[in-house]
Structure formats: structure tokens, C-alpha cells
């Protein structure tokens, strides 16, 4: 009795698997033989087939409005990103130049502070602190200016993108 119930379960399991992927030759033969001899399983499989056909018949179509709104929003965001990138380009380029310049000149700046410190008999800690101030000041000033200019850089990006999309 238990074995028969297990056979039905196995048949249904194999049938479900057959709907999703190919079965091994052994499993396929077993299923075919079982279905020939078992009317209940044949009917159960037919019901499953009907249910899948019904599921496939469900049609959901995206409305024009949703699609157009989505396209407009995505396009606007793309344009906004592009405008912002274009505006930020000079800042990135100048930052890159500044970094390169800093990398090249730092040893000379250090040496000049070192020489001046020894020449003027200034304590080491003092000229080293002076060096740090001189080293950080341009970067800090640049960052402050960038922050100050930021509203001007980003303003109008949204309007410009909207105009481009329209």
C-alpha cells in the first residue's frame, strides 16, 4: 500500500521535473510505464498540464503611461548624471594636476623648509609644523572653494536635464 502511494508521488515528482528539465532514460521509462498502468496519475498530470496552460494564458501588459513615465524618468536621470559629470570634469582634471604637482614638489618643499629652519636656527618641530601648514593649505583652500562653488556647479542640472529630455 505504502509502495503504491510512493509510486504515485514519484510519478508526480518525475512529471514535474520533466516539465522543467530532461529526465534520465531510466526515469523516463519508469514514468511512461507507470502512466500506462495508472489512470489516477494520468488524470493528475492532465490537471497539472491544464493548470500550467491556464497560468500561461494569464496576460499582464504594461500600460503606456507607466512605460512612458519610466522612460522619461530614466532618461532625465541619465542626462542629469551626464551634465553633472561634464561640470565636474574640470575639477577632477585640476585635482589630478595638483596631486601630480604635489608629488613632484614635496621633496623640494621639505628641503627648503629644512634649510631655512637650520639657517634661521628654528627648532625642528616648528619648521616641520610650518611645512605641514604650507603642504595642507592649498588642498584645504581648494576644497573650501569647491564646497563654496558646489551649489553653483549643481544648480540648473535638473532643469537642464528636463529640457534635454523634452
Amino acid at each position: 500500500m505504502n509502495r503504491v502511494a510512493n509510486d504515485h508521488e514519484r510519478a508526480f515528482e518525475l512529471y514535474c521535473m520533466a516539465l522543467a528539465e530532461s529526465l534520465s532514460a531510466n526515469d523516463r521509462d519508469w514514468l511512461e510505464n507507470h502512466l500506462v498502468s495508472c489512470a489516477d496519475c494520468r488524470m493528475r498530470n492532465q490537471h497539472t498540464q491544464d493548470a500550467i496552460a491556464a497560468l500561461k494564458s494569464v496576460s499582464i501588459v504594461a500600460g503606456d503611461e507607466v512605460v512612458q513615465n519610466t522612460r522619461r524618468r530614466v532618461r532625465e536621470l541619465c542626462m542629469r548624471g551626464e551634465t553633472l559629470r561634464r561640470r565636474m570634469r574640470p575639477i577632477w582634471i585640476s585635482s589630478a594636476f595638483a596631486s601630480l604637482w604635489m608629488a613632484c614638489t614635496t621633496p623640494y618643499l621639505w628641503q627648503s623648509f629644512d634649510l631655512t629652519g637650520h639657517w634661521l636656527h628654528i627648532p625642528d618641530l616648528l619648521w616641520q609644523m610650518g611645512f605641514l601648514v604650507a603642504w595642507f593649505t592649498p588642498a584645504l583652500t581648494g576644497a573650501a572653494v569647491a564646497l563654496w562653488l558646489r551649489p553653483a556647479l549643481t544648480s540648473g542640472v535638473r532643469e537642464q536635464a528636463a529640457r534635454a529630455v523634452a
Binding site: 508526480f12 515528482e13 514535474c16 521535473m17 516539465l19 522543467a20 528539465e21 493528475r44 490537471h47 497539472t48 491544464d50 493548470a51 500550467i52 491556464a54 497560468l55 500561461k56 494564458s57 494569464v58 496576460s59 499582464i60 501588459v61 504594461a62 500600460g63 507607466v66 512605460v67 513615465n69 519610466t70 522612460r71 524618468r73 530614466v74 532618461r75 536621470l77 541619465c78 542626462m79 548624471g81 551626464e82
Partner: protein, 198 residues
């Protein structure tokens, strides 16, 4: 036959790479084409997943914005639709978390009884129209009763025709889990549907 399949695969791979390049550039033309191409499939998946059309439409928009923002993460190795569905799925999970639900199963309780799945009304004879309406109601009821995770696997397999491996990628689950969900989904769909038919 084999040659044709190989060519189709090569074409798909090339197309995926093109999509990946376009997404990295945030090419608006490409995004436009993708939205046009996948609009119905994506919305259908979301409606099946959430059981709520309005919510699905909101997440539909968010999905495409996320595609634009995270375009650099798509490497072109996997199929684009698999990646797209995975993004949509994550957004649904995020939404359900925001609503203090724990996981996708919670959506079942919130929207399970609503009939959001519409079968299109074609111009048929009155008898066919009545039969079709009854059939539609049966399908809606059977789908609404299904557990979200099972419904998702059934839809991805039989509606979107993804392979089991692709479904595993979308749902971020092991292949054995996908198989088990498919089996359980079919097992629970069958009685619901056959009872409705009687």
C-alpha cells in the same frame, strides 16, 4: 541544428556584452530600448510577485532606475533578463522589509486574496467569453492561493521560460530549493485548480 544553436548563443553573448557596455556608459538610448523590450515581462513578474498592480508599477519604475544606477555591476556574462529580475526581486524584498514584513512570504498575507492577474478579454463568442471569464477567475483564485515563493518559481519557469539554473540565480537559492519549490508549487496549484474546475 547545432551550428544554429551555437550561433544563437554567440549572438546572445555578444548582445549581453553590448548591453553591459551601454549600461556602463549610462546610454539613454540603450535603456530606452531595454525598457521597451522587457516592459511586459518585468511588470508581469512583479505583479505575480507582489499580487498588486499599483505596487508592481511603482517597483517597475524603481527597477529601471536601479538598473541605470547599478549598470556597472552587470558584466554581460549572465543573461540580462536574469539580472533584471534579480534586481526587481531585491526591490520587492526591500519594500516588504520597509513594511516590517520579514520576507516574500509576508506578501502572500498582504495581497494574497486580491485578484491582480488579468487575463485579456479577446473578442470571442458569448459562450467562449463566459468560459474564458470562469477560467480567468479559476486561474486568479488558484494563483492567489499559492505561496509567493512557489508562485514566483512557477511564473519564472512557465511564463518567462527561464531554466532552473537561471531561476536559482534570480532567487539566489540553491538549485535543489528551486526544484523543490517548483514541485510544491505544481502540487499545490493542481488541487486548487482542479477543485475550481469541478
Amino acid at each position: 541544428m547545432f551550428l544554429a544553436a551555437a550561433r544563437a548563443m554567440e549572438w546572445t553573448l555578444r548582445e549581453n556584452v553590448e548591453i553591459a557596455r551601454g549600461l556602463r556608459r549610462r546610454d539613454p538610448e540603450l535603456l530606452d530600448r531595454l525598457i521597451e523590450r522587457y516592459q511586459h515581462r518585468l511588470l508581469r513578474y512583479l505583479v505575480f510577485l507582489t499580487g498588486n498592480r499599483e505596487l508592481a508599477e511603482d517597483i517597475f519604475q524603481e527597477t529601471w532606475i536601479r538598473v541605470m544606477e547599478r549598470g556597472t555591476q552587470y558584466n554581460g556574462k549572465a543573461k540580462f533578463d536574469t539580472w533584471l529580475f534579480a534586481i526587481a526581486r531585491h526591490l520587492v524584498i526591500d519594500w516588504s522589509r520597509r513594511k516590517t514584513a520579514v520576507s516574500l512570504e509576508a506578501l502572500q498575507e498582504q495581497y494574497g486574496s486580491e485578484h491582480a492577474f488579468d487575463v485579456p478579454a479577446n473578442s470571442k463568442s458569448p459562450f467562449d467569453a463566459v468560459t474564458e471569464r470562469e477560467n480567468r477567475e479559476n486561474v486568479e483564485a488558484a494563483l492567489a492561493r499559492l505561496d509567493t515563493l512557489h508562485r514566483e518559481v512557477l511564473v519564472l519557469r512557465f511564463h518567462e521560460e527561464l531554466s532552473l539554473e537561471e531561476i536559482a540565480t534570480v532567487t539566489n537559492s540553491p538549485l535543489s530549493t528551486v526544484k523543490s519549490r517548483l514541485y510544491r508549487g505544481l502540487a499545490s496549484l493542481k488541487p486548487a485548480f482542479s477543485e475550481e474546475q469541478l
